[in-house]
Symmetry: C2
Subunit: 514 residues, 2 copies
């Protein structure tokens, strides 16, 4: 394909996407395909001769779209949002076209320096303490990670490095293996599954501590956990606090946890993956009080701040621990490190890195502070609209205080009612919401996700839920009108593989979906 | 920004990229900016009101391009290639626009299923043993990772899982911590720095074994390493063999290493990050002989196979070990796993995942087997052209057998000559090559990187090198005509941060660059 053809193909793809996004309401949010649907729609091998690009666009509708779950549909209310915006798409395109790898300054100075600048823009926007900024005098700074999972793991590895070094000075007679074998980390039973996974990957047991009646991790609980582990000879090392949990968007009590972590020299990582975007609005910023105690802080502009996945913003107070945990150059090249700009490859797990700050720059510039704040506030107010509709129907109960764009609710009465309601909704595929188990009760999570959501979409979802509740309460509880395709047998595939995820562990809770 | 504006902005961006890529020869391959150049070119904070998209495109030239190292310039001969192609760019764009997250089947069946299909297309194309394919009857399969670094780490964690389980049956009295503390892994002193980093991250010491005179890891060396470690009470666990090392594109002796790993029950991971793309051509496939011994195999279509970064192809013979190492669902949800399609979130480090198979599909279809093979063969033949030019000048020597698109050479005589030659070349910025230390000698690595490279570009690079060699040998050894900007002081930045990488550890070797 030459440049002339690319101009045609690229522009046709732009139109295809504009058409797709403008008309998302016309597509059912959930696909109706069965596992294995795609294999019969395409050849079994790479073609010998090149295909035509026009055929690709035809196949987007024939092969791909029937199997797409439309995350940006105004009828998508599952999980949490993943971002999508026009500026973000163009940013991704330009980043792909330039195609540089910014693993060190010289491999593309703009790639490192725009990231340094954008992480400062963003840090100032949410009023992070100065010491987290690249422009501070200290060793703090911000970096774009691929996901909150990676940020949590990076924090854990830095915590391990710092703790091992500290204990080594206290007990010079212990070897590193002995120290590492005693380390222990903490989070709440409401934290995202990626937190537990970080412990698994980084070989530090992650204790999931119980939360209070508002699903918050409290200081006294952490203190008690630390005390009992120290008594067993363990070495507390790392705490992951969540601002906006996956299950119910609860906020851990940073102002209680922070002083304990600082006093006990535990690395405090704050995971604000979803809710963190709201801190661009002053009225939500009280929810991050205590952030100055943290050693690292993370939120995902790729969730709720309109920057296409992947763009996970992470700041640390002292980047030296990252560099020392990650740099394999440390022995050989230490004397040659006389430099000045961050080598971001030492701040992350992989070596290579895309020019991700470009899309962040475009979103920040093309929305401006006002546009971004408007987006957050509109979504919060749509969630409140949904709450009002729910409260007007006495058959329903709201399970937890509504928080940000999330409303957790259920049908009053036995769990079977809520479960049947969810089954019906999923079989009809008009809206996509996921179920969860919360304090042993079956609940539904309704999240305002799409940036295109409008009051009419909230009304549509409510009508759908209300109507199906009518059916459930009328006793039409035979399940659903149509069978759930994903429960069918996928005969062509291998039995040893996992299921198409009709259960997802969202957090301490398990959430059934689809 | 609405859809109408997006159509304009997106199409203008397509034209911008087409213009950029068509006219890459007119831009100096290396930037002339100094560290910190960007901060004065943009405001210090996010704008209140939205900017205009037209200003973004103006700023691409004003702010970004002066700081871009042009990886796709035909004058870029550093590191190894990173891929860029028109179909790949459009694939990235469509993936961003659809913006689904495929962490489980239902979150977008097409995302999982196209990946399953594409990994089979690719596996068949390079004639991987059947047991690695998704379509096999066994537990094998392929997955797209973000980078070879991640693939190596994923392999290591699976190896750890498998070994701990095996040792546990032999020594039920040992706890997991004890077993993990004894594990040891192996690679060669020529392997990529990411291999050592994987050991660091995964808490398994990575022993870098010496190589033979052709930079290959041999069976006897591994055998000796295992023997001496077992004697010390350690438990050998994981071997990373490289096909196409970073330094000199050497190939470890898989046919010697494989049987040892199988016999000793060590997980064998094969890293063919760069050279693996060549195996789409039958004439290079003998270099992967012995791959049937491997437990996991990885190469990067985003390096030499025209798929834009990131797209790292990894296959495993038994996915169960990945799933068990990575799944935090295993306790709670085991009984509910009755499913059929891979939940790729358990095959990788992060939870979220982009629709990366889309760009792989586009590249495979729009080049076809013939187009892809032509690309590889042309680049190899261009490297041979460079070799011929070198051999015609008796002042130079070729250091290692030329391999794929890489030629390693130096000026005969003391190291200072080659070093001065490199300094001059980097100061002039007409071409970009990196220096390395190999067997205690200073060498230069010339790689054919750009898919747009033509014989005239090879001639251009040779003229530049030859001309500067004239100057060096005439005794004009004062260094360079112009000072290297990156050696200047970066007064505005923090001293504690690292340097703009004027040294890079490419592998066991350290490679100076720029």
């Amino acid at each position: 394909m030459d440049a002339t053809e690319f101009r045609k193909f690229g522009k046709a793809a732009v139109d295809y996407l504009a058409d797709y996004l403008e008309n998302l309401r016309d597509r059912p949010v959930l696909p109706s395909v069965e596992p294995g649907y795609l294999q019969d729609l395409i050849p079994r091998e790479v073609p010998q001769e090149p295909d035509k690009w026009q055929d690709i666009l035809v196949d987007m509708e024939r092969v791909i779209m029937p199997g797409v779950t439309h995350w940006h549909s105004p009828q998508f209310h599952a999980f949490y949002p993943t971002a999508n915006s026009y500026p973000g798409i163009v940013g991704e395109m330009l980043s792909a076209g330039i195609g540089c790898l910014g693993f060190s300054w010289i491999t593309s100075p703009a790639c490192t320096e725009l990231e340094v600048a954008m992480m400062d823009w963003l840090g100032k926007l949410i009023q992070l303490p100065q010491e987290f900024l690249n422009s501070s005098d200290g060793p703090g700074g911000g970096v774009i990670q691929g996901s909150a999972s990676e940020a949590t793991l990076v924090g854990l590895l830095a915590a391990k490095e710092r703790t091992v070094r500290r204990i080594k000075t206290l007990h010079p007679e212990w070897d590193e293996g002995t120290i590492k074998g005693k380390l222990i980390a903490y989070s709440s039973d409401q934290s995202n599954s990626s937190v537990e996974k970080a412990g698994l990957l980084g070989s530090i047991p992650m204790r999931l501590l119980p939360t209070d009646d508002k699903c918050r991790l409290r200081g006294a609980t952490l203190e008690e956990g630390i005390r009992s582990d120290v008594k067993k000879g363990l070495i507390p090392c790392y705490v992951v606090a969540t601002l906006g949990t996956t299950g119910t968007c609860a906020f851990d009590c940073l102002e209680e946890l922070g002083p304990i972590c600082n006093r006990e020299e535990l690395w405090l990582h704050v995971d604000a993956a979803y809710a963190g975007s709201a801190f661009i609005c002053p009225e939500f910023r009280h929810l991050m009080a205590g952030v100055h105690y943290a050693d690292s802080y993370n939120f995902n502009p790729h969730k709720w701040m309109l920057v296409n996945f992947d763009c996970s913003a992470m700041w640390v107070k002292d980047s030296q621990y990252l560099v020392e945990a990650f740099s394999v150059d440390r022995i050989y090249l230490k004397h040659q490190h006389q430099g000045r700009a961050p080598d971001y490859r030492h701040w992350q797990i992989p070596l290579g890195r895309r020019f991700r700050s470009l899309k962040l720059w475009m979103v920040l510039r093309l929305y401006g502070i006002q546009g971004l704040q408007q987006h957050i506030r509109r979504q919060v107010s749509l969630a409140q609209e949904f709450e009002t509709l729910l409260r007007g129907d006495s058959r329903f109960e709201i399970v937890t205080e509504i928080s940000m764009g999330l409303v957790c609710f259920r049908l009053k009465g036995p769990d079977s009612l809520t479960k049947t309601l969810h089954d019906r909704l999923m079989a009809r595929k008009k809206i996509y919401i996921i179920a969860a188990t919360f304090r042993d009760k079956h609940i539904l999570r309704f999240v305002v996700c799409s940036r295109m959501s409008e009051p009419r979409d909230i009304a549509f979802a409510w009508e759908e839920i209300r109507g199906q509740a009518d059916q459930v309460l009328l006793g039409n509880n035979t399940g659903s009108d149509t069978p759930l395709s994903i429960h069918k047998t996928y005969s062509r595939s291998k039995t040893r593989k996992e299921c198409p995820s009709n259960e997802l562990k969202v957090n301490g809770i398990t959430s059934g979906q689809a």
